[in-house]
């Protein structure tokens, strides 16, 4: 019994038990020889050929390809991208192609609009009308888009004060998405609470009005009357 509980290695050689011992090398020998093989990499032993350098390049190539394939076919790792053949914009952003972004809108606003309307959106009394709490920017999307795209020229009444407006066609030089970001920002900043504006809407309006001059505020009001609060 005592003998049974001893490890076979204690009273046997490292060759280990090889059973009938007729077929091939013993297992202990098998392990040893292969372990030696994997240690002594530089020995010119049997079975070593010039393949490794080729293999290294090949496998590096596979790795390179794998990286390329993953970046090109993964829809920017978006959880909402399912279909490789969907239009590019949809792949990148999923089902919603464009996301109106007030933060981007703020940057664009400061660069293009704040000189007159001020960063506070309050304008300059007597010279430039305010945007904050202005009924002109809330309500109809088309009104604000048209104002940004084509500009305004003429007498305009905002929040009970009259201004002799002359707003250039700032939006004509901006992309649809940029105009949409600005409009979204204006409609949602300084206490304004109107709906965001989509770039598709901007494109639609831009196409409809064509290449025209500044709107007269009164004409613009005829097209898009101020909504009752």
């Amino acid at each position: 019994m005592n003998d049974r509980n001893r490890h076979p290695d204690n009273n046997r050689s490292r060759r280990g038990p090889s059973g009938a011992g007729s077929e091939g090398p013993s297992d202990g020998r098998l392990v040893e020889v292969h372990s030696q093989l994997s240690r002594d990499k530089d020995e010119p032993a049997e079975g070593f050929s010039l393949t490794p350098i080729f293999i290294v390049f090949l496998f590096c190539g596979f790795g390179f390809w794998a990286g390329l394939y993953l970046t090109r076919n993964s829809g920017d790792f978006s959880p909402a991208a399912f279909d490789l053949n969907a239009p590019k914009a949809a792949v990148a952003g999923g089902p919603v192609a464009f996301e109106p972004d007030a933060a981007k809108g703020e940057k664009l606003f400061l660069a293009n609009c704040a000189a007159c309307h001020q960063a506070t959106g309050l304008g300059v009394p007597g010279a430039f009308p305010p945007l904050a709490k202005s009924a002109w920017v809330a309500g109809s999307e088309e009104r604000i888009i048209k104002a940004i795209l084509a500009g305004l020229a003429g007498e305009i009444e905002v929040n009970g004060a009259k201004y002799n407006g002359n707003m250039p066609n700032i939006g004509a030089g901006l992309k649809d998405a940029q105009v949409a970001h600005i409009a979204t920002y204006v409609r949602q900043a300084w206490g304004n609470t109107a709906e965001p504006v989509m770039d598709t809407k901007v494109a639609e309006v831009r196409k409809a009005i064509g290449n025209r001059g500044q709107y007269n505020p009164a004409d613009l009001l005829k097209e898009h009357p101020l909504e009752a609060k």
Binding site: N5, P17, S18, G19, H34, G47, S78
Partner: protein, 481 residues
């Protein structure tokens, strides 16, 4: 640590006890035979069911049991696949992995009754699960069809029956290890982990939406590659140098094969979900992992075919029963890896999606590779454990030729038939009945192949059971060597 006999010269007969068995082998004889016999029984049942399902698929209107609900195609095909994988694939690798690591780690299985208990629990749970499928209670997830209460039992049974290789590895007396040991240890860790997680995410606490499908595809690929594939690779790494008496050529690459295989195989699952509403990046990761699996496939090809190519190894392999099966499997694995890489790509995959092609790939991996290697291993191990000879050389030949032809036939029929059907399905001018009609010839090949596989399995079982019965007879038999 005694170092007195490193020359590797034969030492004559072992010092005490049985004249034939080493103590290592004597200890694991009981559990090994339990696993092996149950494996062969399940293989026989699965082969019979394979013939029936092939007949049913060939002529749905007039196949056998067409009026019997219990034996309807949907149930039989699920039972067949589960029995083949969980019955044959697991029991056989329980036995082989245990034997392999006991040999390589010189491990004496002291608590064999635990392994026996695990084996009994495994097979009882399997029987219950199969009965439930016949009764109509199956889940809709391939290879997880058993009702969910079977899952925990199988997991515990696996720990009892399939964890001994890890114990053997942990207790090995030597510091250095061999490729076979890595693959078996990896496989023994990978399966219980993936099985428990899949049970949890798919059946017990179903994850919402597509996560369930992703978890399922992950499970299937892990089961096939990391359990069946890795275990079979371990066997090839062992038997080639063992029987040829030669070192593995390019052996220093084997660690790369091991790590890359285990790293990439776990990611290949989502390739099965190409074109489904699963986030693109998950699908692409599956494609890339399947393609990168070519790295271990190339290395194992260098290892296996390089070893076989030197010094007329192929002809020696052909003349040795074990190696004939094992090298057949090694070639099949290389083919599988190449096909898997190419047909993971979206263009090719779009053609073969929804056809029998995936079944062909699974057949290539699980039968042409793993099962052939298992057969070869059985021809090597069983005589040593039973101390008897294989009763009939003729049956060995029948076994090899029937199985080889059957497996080649079924793989070709599934792959080529799948490719043709895919081409026709993509062609709007071909109607669905026409597609089915064109597939009828391949269906015929499949049926013949299933019969051949059954013949091979029966020949193997007759031979093996005859040998086991002979060895357990009380009279002392002659030595075969």
């Amino acid at each position: 640590m005694t170092q007195d006999n490193r020359s590797g010269r034969p030492q004559g007969r072992p010092p005490e006890g049985d004249a034939r068995l080493s103590r290592v082998e004597a200890q694991l004889r009981g559990p090994f035979l339990l696993f092996f016999v149950s494996a062969v029984v399940w293989l026989l049942v699965a082969s019979v069911l394979g013939v029936i399902t092939a007949l049913q698929q060939g002529s749905l209107a007039a196949g056998p049991f067409r009026d019997c609900e219990v034996f309807s195609y949907g149930r039989l095909v699920a039972v067949q696949r589960n029995l083949f994988v969980y019955g044959w694939g697991f029991n056989a690798f329980f036995a082989l992995n245990l034997w392999l690591l006991s040999q390589l780690s010189r491990f004496e299985l002291r608590n064999g009754w635990l392994a026996t208990l695990g084996g009994a629990a495994w097979n009882l749970a399997l029987t219950y699960g199969v009965a439930q499928i016949f009764a109509g209670h199956q889940n809709g997830f391939g290879l997880l069809e058993f009702p969910r209460e079977v899952g925990p039992v199988l997991a515990v049974a696996f720990l009892l029956a399939g964890f001994w290789p890890i114990v053997a590895f942990a207790r090995r007396p030597t510091g250095h290890t061999f490729a076979s040991q890595w693959f078996v240890v990896g496989a023994s860790f990978a399966f219980p982990l993936t099985y428990l997680l899949a049970q949890l995410l798919v059946l017990w606490q179903p994850a919402s939406g597509v996560v369930q499908a992703i978890a399922h595809s992950w499970f299937v690929s892990n089961l096939l590659l990391l359990w069946i594939g890795a275990s079979a690779l371990a066997a090839v790494y062992y038997f080639l140098p063992k029987v040829l008496g030669r070192t593995i050529s390019g052996y220093y690459l084997a660690p790369v094969a091991f790590w890359s295989f285990f790293f990439f195989a776990g990611w290949t699952g989502p390739a099965a979900l190409l074109g489904s509403p699963v986030p693109l990046w998950i699908q692409s990761v599956g494609v890339v992992a399947g393609a990168m699996l070519i790295v271990p496939v190339i290395i194992t090809a260098i290892n296996f075919h390089g070893t076989l190519s030197a010094e007329s190894g192929w002809s020696r392999a052909w003349n040795d029963t074990t190696l004939r099966f094992v090298s057949f499997g090694a070639v099949a694995f290389t083919l599988f890896g190449l096909l898997n890489a190419v047909f993971g790509f979206r263009g090719y995959n779009a053609t073969v999606r929804f056809t029998s092609f995936a079944a062909g790939q699974e057949q290539l991996l699980a039968y042409a590779f793993a099962t052939m290697v298992l057969f070869g291993a059985a021809y090597f191990v069983l005589p040593r454990l039973t101390g008897a000879l294989w009763p009939s050389a003729k049956l060995v030949h029948v076994h090899f030729w029937a199985t080889a032809l059957g497996v080649i036939g079924s793989v070709v029929a599934l792959l080529v038939g799948g490719w043709q059907a895919g081409k026709q399905l993509a062609d709007a001018s071909v109607s669905l009945p026409q597609v089915a009609k064109a597939g009828a010839a391949w269906q015929y090949v499949l049926t013949v192949s299933a019969v051949l596989l059954l013949v091979g399995a029966v020949a193997f079982a007759l031979n093996a059971f005859g040998m086991i019965l002979k060895s357990s007879a009380p009279a002392s038999e002659g030595r075969h060597d």
